[in-house]
């Protein structure tokens, strides 16, 4: 029943996404598109952290690499499918190499968080220092802290670039397809192993599963998805800058997941959209700093609602029926 409702809901969202750009003002379409692009990023962390149990504090690294890879590839090879493939492959490869060192080195959770965050911050510094004409990849100037402007928008095979409404639809399709793909993946054997590793790493290992390999696969897939989000982001604004690697950006992803509910896929998406909407609204006033609010929200949720909003709501909704079917709660601590 729940599964049917979820599928119907997703189809509904998909249908709504297809018709919505025709109804709304262009500005609103633009604004909602960025929320949805960030939701792809939130989903990638929901997969890596919530489902795979890998606390990656530097998911922004893969997002940013995807955006930069798209920009560089699109300028050099034209804004077609090869550039999209590169924008996914570069962050995936980066995740695979980083993951190899971390997981095969048997580093524990907390260190993984710190290392991924440190990598992100160092990428920030690295890209920030590339202003000057000598830093170019092919025809693409990296532009340092000014970022890269005039990034081409993805085009139909005929050469026609997508308009904002089409980017919106593309983003909705990517988001829904990613959710479905993750659900499907979690039902395959590697997906189930990933969950087993999250639940109890030692038990999974004693049962003969290759924990490091499983984590590496999860991490790489998450990196690829974040990269796809980054690719969409570069398309959305025709612009990338080093701030996508910044500490605040990294923190926001974590906050979306925490607030929405780690362990769920839809919670982080909802958390992301709601919080982005709220920060946009906060950004229009001058009294309170956005960072202050975000920080307080993060600390508050960790202290008071550590499981997040969505699990709290579903628990509350399920409470009247709880007598018949005892919910199989799997309290997962990352």
């Amino acid at each position: 029943m729940a599964r049917f409702l979820q599928s119907a809901g997703l189809l509904g969202i998909l249908a709504l996404g297809m018709v919505l750009p025709g109804w709304l003002e262009l500005f609103t379409v633009y604004e909602i598109t960025i929320y949805l692009i960030m939701a792809v990023l939130a989903l990638s962390l929901a997969f890596v952290w919530g489902k795979g149990g890998i606390m990656c504090l530097g998911q922004a690294a893969f997002f940013g690499l995807g955006a930069y890879a798209w920009a560089v590839a699109a300028i050099n090879f034209g804004p077609g499918l090869p550039a999209v493939a590169i924008a996914i492959a570069v962050p995936a490869l980066f995740a695979a190499v980083l993951g190899y060192f971390m997981f095969y080195g048997r580093i524990n959770d907390i260190y993984i968080g710190v290392i991924t965050l440190a990598v992100t911050l160092i990428l920030f510094n690295l890209i920030n220092s590339t202003s000057g004409p000598q830093y170019r990849i092919g025809a693409a100037l990296l532009g340092g802290f000014n970022g890269m402007t005039g990034v081409p928008t993805v085009a139909w095979p005929g050469g026609m670039p997508l308009d904002p409404g089409e980017i919106f639809r593309l983003t909705v399709i990517v988001l829904v397809a990613s959710v479905v793909a993750i659900w499907a993946y979690l039902r395959t054997t590697p997906g189930k192993v990933a969950i087993a590793v999250r639940e109890n790493e030692y038990r999974a290992e004693l049962l003969g599963y290759n924990v490091a390999q499983s984590k590496l696969i999860t991490f790489t897939l998450g990196g690829a998805l974040a990269g796809l989000g980054g690719c969409l982001f570069a398309n959305w604004g025709a612009f990338v800058s080093p701030t996508i690697f910044s500490l605040v950006q990294s923190a926001q992803i974590i906050i979306w997941v925490i607030v929405g509910g780690r362990g769920t896929l839809l919670g982080p998406i909802l958390g992301c959209i709601a919080l982005q909407w709220a920060t946009t609204k906060l950004g229009t006033q001058q009294v309170v700093q956005v960072n202050l609010v975000l920080g307080v929200v993060l600390a508050f949720f960790v202290l008071v609602v550590p499981q997040g909003i969505l699990p709290m709501i579903t628990k509350a909704l399920a409470a009247p029926f709880a007598r018949k079917t005892k919910p199989a709660t799997t309290e997962s601590q990352a």
Partner: protein, 289 residues
């Protein structure tokens, strides 16, 4: 020969800076197993206290940097420990996230208070010439300060009752409680000490870099890498990791650019953690503190 000694001082200086930015983090991590994401902001606060103490309150630079900054930031640390952190002991990941929240809130709060511009303070010591070359006298002071901080910490942990209790709490907090100690108070004091050391570090670095509310971000990656690679022994781990990374970073900075130095530092750390997952002191200097 002159050049070699100048390069030597530069390397020692970059080691000293690493020690100063990460020792507070190392104390909190090594003693309490808490990764304090707000450490960068403690450094930032230390810098601001120094600048305000010197430029507005009329203290000399040395008083504001060496006394005022650690005390004020230490008190802020105690307050935050009481407000947030004490509820989360034993939940490493949650503490880490909560301190990240504190970090963002401190950045936001300071931006509201002082705005988003860099405030500077002049370097208080003249440069020293060695043959044809000259080095900043302040770098030499930083080296001395790092040595003094390590020596004092060593004395604190080895010679005082608080140090004994702190080390015992690290080993087995329940046992300490059973024997009449108060682990809660020791944790609070340790966190305050870590914050105070952060304040001192930030204060000492303020003349080099200036201070801006977001400056914590530029320190925190290096501080984390140093502490993680050092392992759980506070002083030995911090010193050995700082020595390794300070040398690598400074040599690459000298040959290429500061950013390449930073990347080289990170790559060294990732390879190191692959070889020694428990950090340097997980394998070497295991019996030290």
């Amino acid at each position: 020969m002159d050049f070699a000694s100048v390069l030597m001082i530069e390397i020692l200086g970059s080691i000293a800076i690493l020690v100063l930015i990460s020792i507070g983090l190392a104390v909190v991590f090594g003693m309490m197993k808490v990764i304090n994401m707000a450490h960068g902001e403690f450094l930032m606060l230390g810098g601001y206290v120094t600048i305000y103490g010197t430029n507005h309150a009329g203290f000399s630079f040395w008083v504001s940097a060496l006394i005022l900054a650690p005390i004020v930031v230490g008190l802020i640390g105690l307050l935050l420990e009481w407000l947030v952190i004490r509820h989360l002991y034993g939940r490493m990941i949650d503490t880490m996230l909560a301190t990240w929240g504190i970090s963002l809130a401190l950045v936001g709060g300071m931006t509201m208070l002082v705005g988003n511009t860099t405030t500077g303070i002049s370097t208080p010591l003249p440069s020293v010439s060695i043959g044809d070359f000259s080095v900043s006298g302040y770098v030499i002071f930083l080296i001395g300060l790092a040595v003094a901080v390590c020596a004092l910490l060593y004395a604190l942990f080895k010679l005082t009752t608080f140090g004994l209790l702190a080390r015992a709490t690290t080993q087995n907090a329940d046992m300490v409680a059973a024997l009449g100690g108060n682990p809660r108070r020791i944790y609070a004091l340790t966190f305050g000490l870590g914050a105070a050391l952060g304040g001192l570090g930030g204060a000492a670095l303020a003349p080099l870099t200036g201070v801006i509310p977001t400056i914590g971000a530029s320190y925190i990656a290096k501080a984390f890498i140093t502490v993680i690679s050092g392992g759980s022994a506070v002083i030995a781990g911090n010193l050995s990791a700082s020595a390794l990374f300070g040398t690598v970073g400074q040599v690459f900075t000298y040959i290429y650019t500061p950013v390449i130095g930073e990347v080289a530092l990170l790559l060294t750390a990732i390879v190191l953690i692959r070889v020694l997952p428990k950090g340097i002191t997980g394998r070497f200097f295991r019996r030290s503190i």
